[in-house]
Structure formats: structure tokens, C-alpha cells
């Protein structure tokens, strides 16, 4: 195997909150090969956005890394100085955020923002940057890029804005594109179009993509590999086909059972996983999923589950999974 373009090694991170701290990532390890598309799935609140933000070193001011490293193109980004970290953004790694409505400054035109966003591109004039931006807007499917450049963000539709956000992220041909729920704010038709676009762009530019979503259909469409997160941990990691056909971790199974796309008959009711996420200020000593798990036994409640390697590129964090 080649060297991963992005790797997260044993990352633990917490948020300082009034009256304690939230253990939002616990011993997370993941790696992304060049050109690979990795999906991160899991229900809301399990730490997906935090992990995505950590990959580009953009966690909030109250976030604190307690252990682990993040390597980008082989460099340990957290050991770099502020200026060097800043220099990697946009070129080595770029991000598309969830909400296209608020992702751009409301008082600057799209054009001037897209030019600004190329600040890590050296030796290129503003004019050239503007040309590059225009070309990229055309590439992501905006019908009138010249007009779009002069518009303010709110003058574009949600779908167009998300396309523009993707264009922005690709402007400097990053090695890794991180997309945090890029389609959640959009309607279904738009979602399909954006996913289609991402697949096309990935084929064209060959960048690796990390896509966070709670929509398993999106993952099936787009990803090579999936990491399923629960309560700040990666509980199962597998190639996408293997995960769909043979989910091993009880949480993955529950999640797949809930996915509306997989429900054949329209009963009009979506199944949901019973129970709630554990309190992350005091994670349980055993398996975090035990209170909601149909297979939970006594050792699940007291002993942390082992990471069981199931096959090539497959692992699960569970007492009951056999290798």
C-alpha cells in the first residue's frame, strides 16, 4: 500500500464545557489513501463534524487534543507552527461545509471571495485567480460563471452556492477534500446532483475525499470505504460493499435498519434506534453502545471492547464480533 495522504492516529479530543469536558473523540484512527473516497457515518452528535474539523485543524477554541496525531501528506500538522498549518490549507486539504447558506461572507461578492480563497497559491496574480475561479465555477456546473462572480452569496440558490463551495475547495487542487454533510441542507434532487458532481470531480482530479454524512445512500453512491462512528469512536471500518452486505457491528446493523433508503415497503414510519447517545462528559467504562445494544452482555458493560480485525481493511470495536 502507498502512504496515506491523510491519517489520524489515536486521536482523542475533548471540548471544555461549563462543568466539565466532553470526550468527543476517543482514540480515533483512520487513514485515507490518495484518491480514495472515505465515508464517515453515524447519527447526529457522535463527533463526525469534530473529526472532520480536526482533519483541517479548525476545531473550536474550546477544543483540546489530549492524545494522537494527524498527518497530512506525511507531516504531523499539529506539531507545525501556525503559519505552516495555514499554508497547508486549500492546497493539501480543503473543506466543504454543511450549510451553503452561511458558508460565504454575506457582504463580499462570490468572485472576490473565490479569489481570496486562493491565498495559498503563490506567484499567481489576482486576475489569474479570478480566471481560475470563473473556470472552476463553470466546471461545477454554474451556467453563467461571469454573472455568478459578481453576485453576493444570497443571490444564488442553495444548490448553486454548494456548487460554488465545492468549486472553492477544488481551486487549489487539494490532495484531500473534506466535505461535512455537503448535501444535508439541500433537497433530494439537488442532493443527487451534488453527489453526481462530486463523483465526476473525483474522477477528474483524483483527489481523496472524506465525506461526512448520516445518509447511507450517499455513502453507497460515492465511497470506497466507510467508517462508522458512535459516541466519539470509530466502531466499524469496512469497504463499502462489505459493510452493506455484511455489517458486523451491532450499531452498524441498527443504523442500516434505520436508513430510509433501505426500507422497501413504505410503512410511513421510520425505524429508529431506541435509546440515546451516552453522556460524553462521562463515557461508560465498557462499550458505549451497550445500553442500546441487543447483544450486550455483562462484559460489554464493564470492559472496553477490543478492536477486532475481521479481514483486509475491516475492523470492528465489539466484544461479540468474531474475526
Amino acid at each position: 500500500m502507498t502512504d496515506p495522504v491523510l491519517s489520524v492516529e489515536n486521536l482523542s479530543l475533548r471540548y471544555r464545557v461549563p462543568g466539565g469536558s466532553l470526550q468527543v473523540l476517543r482514540d480515533v484512527s483512520l487513514s485515507v489513501q490518495p484518491g480514495e473516497v472515505l465515508g464517515i457515518a453515524g447519527e447526529s452528535g457522535c463527533g463526525k463534524s469534530t473529526l472532520a474539523a480536526a482533519m483541517i485543524d479548525l476545531t473550536g477554541a474550546n477544543a483540546e487534543r489530549t492524545a494522537g496525531t494527524i498527518r497530512l501528506s506525511g507531516r504531523d500538522i499539529l506539531s507545525l507552527g501556525q503559519a505552516d498549518r495555514r499554508r497547508m490549507r486549500g492546497r493539501d486539504v480543503a473543506m466543504v461545509f454543511q450549510d451553503p447558506m452561511t458558508a460565504f461572507s454575506p457582504v463580499l461578492t462570490m468572485g472576490s471571495q473565490l479569489v481570496d480563497f486562493q491565498c495559498n497559491l503563490d506567484g499567481v496574480s489576482r486576475r489569474e485567480k479570478s480566471d481560475r475561479a470563473r473556470a472552476m465555477l463553470a466546471r461545477v456546473g454554474l451556467s453563467d460563471p461571469d454573472l455568478a462572480m459578481t453576485r453576493f452569496p444570497h443571490e444564488l440558490s442553495g444548490g448553486m452556492r454548494q456548487r460554488a463551495a465545492i468549486a472553492a475547495a477544488l481551486l487549489m487542487r487539494p490532495a484531500v477534500l473534506i466535505a461535512d454533510e455537503p448535501t444535508t441542507a439541500l433537497d433530494v434532487t439537488m442532493e443527487a446532483q451534488i453527489i453526481h458532481l462530486l463523483r465526476e470531480l473525483q474522477a477528474d482530479y483524483g483527489c481523496a475525499i472524506v465525506i461526512v454524512t448520516h445518509h447511507l445512500g450517499v455513502i453507497a453512491e460515492l465511497c470506497d470505504r466507510v467508517a462508522v462512528m458512535y459516541a466519539g469512536q470509530v466502531v466499524e471500518e469496512a469497504p463499502v460493499d462489505a459493510l452493506y452486505h455484511d455489517p458486523r457491528h451491532p450499531y452498524t446493523r441498527a443504523l442500516l435498519a434505520c436508513d430510509p433508503a433501505r426500507i422497501e415497503e413504505h410503512t410511513g414510519r421510520l425505524p429508529a434506534i431506541g435509546g440515546r447517545l451516552p453522556d460524553l462528559t462521562a463515557p461508560p467504562p465498557g462499550c458505549a453502545f451497550a445500553p442500546r445494544c441487543p447483544l450486550a452482555s455483562d462484559r460489554c458493560r464493564t470492559l472496553p471492547p477490543p478492536r477486532v480485525t475481521i479481514g483486509p481493511g475491516r475492523a470492528a470495536l465489539c466484544h461479540e464480533v468474531a474475526p
Partner: protein, 316 residues
Amino acid sequence: MLRYAVKRIALAVVILITVMLAMYAMVFLVPGDPASLALGPRATPELKALLRERMGLDEPVLWQVWHFFRSAATGDLGYDVWSKRPVLDQILEFFPNTLILGVAALGWALTLGIALGATAVVWRDTVADRLLGILSVGLISVPAFVVAIYAILIFAVWLRWLPAIGAGNPGDPLSQLRALVLPAFALGVGWVGYLARLVRASLLEVMGENHIRTARAFGLPESRVVLRYGLRVAIIPTIALMAVGLGSILSSAVFVETVFGRPGIGTLITGAVQKRNYPVVMGTVLFMTAFYLFIVTAADLLIARLDPRVRDVLRR
């Protein structure tokens, strides 16, 4: 946008008329005959009657009000009771002095206030931020007249760098500039702290918004993130406040002008009130109110232009 502008201007006119009616009510509700008060106890009845006539007080109240508004609409604000000069001439003579003072005070306060506020945000949660916070609160709490008196003592009396009183010699810009420094300093000081706090708070709020995170995600230097992406949005509420600020600065100018013996609207109106020179009082109040409303309305319209979101809502 046009409909909005028309609405705002109509509102300004209504406020203006209300203020003037309130002024009239005050003149008539204050006990005592203005003419006898102005002339003192030994005035003859004939003299009092003459003065009342000049003040326009001999007519029925409603007629006076109507008369005042009708001539004001044509730009005629009446005549000075004592000098018989047109009131508008006097206002136009003194107003530029006051306006220059107000704009200078606000200008330096705004520049420094924004700079300090933005600095505090760039260095947020450091010692520098906390020191700026203490400085700002300190500046807000010091009354302008105290600053004025100390400024005169230090820079005019002890150091003799700057003149203590007056507005400089006509036709000598350098002397006018030198005469402007201390009053503008005294008048602006309180606003520096206030603006620094306001800009800091407004900027901090903006810095939590998603578009700031986007700018950072592309590696823009923090100073550029704060100044271009943050301040551009954070400055909008400051502009609205500045319009109100200019109004309030022009009214504090009254006593700063008095302390510095600087000719201006402040000295004009205090003199007129002391001498019960009603046409001058009325005319000046009308003029200043109209000016203030003009500024506030213009600021609202400017904001509507500056913030594309507001502009769009209004266009619908």
C-alpha cells in the same frame, strides 16, 4: 428601496414637526412672560409689548405655530429679537464650526475605536485584550468636561502647545486646525472607549459565524480574516450607532464649545436661551433636529446599501 427611502423620509418629517410642537408647548407652559423675563423688572409695558411683537408672541398660539412652519418651509426662520439679523444667517455662520468639531471628534474616535476594537479581537483573551478593555471602560467613564478642563490645563496652560479658546483666525487654516485639536479631543475621548467596546463585541459575534470558519479553512491570515471578513460585517451596526452618535456629539458640543469659548451652535443657543431670544432658539432647534434626522435617515439608507441582505429584503 425607493419605498423604504420614502417611508424613512416621511417618518423624519413627522418627527420634526412633533419636536417643534413640543418646543412651542414648552415656551408656553414655562411660567412667566418671556418678554418681561428678558427685559427685567424695570421694563415699561410699551417695551414689553414691542418685544412680544418681535418675538411673535402677540398672536394666537396656533396662528404662531402655523406661521412658523409656513415660513420655515420656505427657509425663513425669523429674525433675531435683539440684532434683527435673520436667524438662518446666524445658524449658517456658526454651524460649520460645530459640524467640523463634531466630525473631527467622531472621526478620530471612530478610527481609534475601530482600531482598538479590532486589535482586541486579533489578540483576544490575551493581556493586551484585557488592558484594552480596562482602557475602554476608563475612557467611557470620564466625563467630557473633565477631559476638556485637563486638556486645557496640560496642553494650553502648561505646555502652551495649543490655544485654549476660540476657533482660530478666519482665513488661517493652520490656526483653525490648532484650535480644533483640544475640543475635538475632549469631545471624542468618551466615544473611543465606547466604540472600541462596541466593535469588539460585534466583531467577536461575527467571528463565530460560519463564513469566518470558511475563510480560515482556506488559510487566510488571521488579520485578514478579522479585518476583511469580520469587520466588514461587524461595522454595519457601528454605522447605525454613529449616526445617533453624531447627534449626541453635537449636543455635547454645546458645553465643549462653552468651555473652549469656541463660536458654534452651542454658544449660539446658550446665548439665545439666556436672553430669551425665542426665534433664535426655535430656529436653531429646528435646524439641528432637521440635521440630526437627515443624518440618521441617511445612515439607515446607507446601511441598506452596504448590507446586500438588507438591500435585497427591501427590494422585494
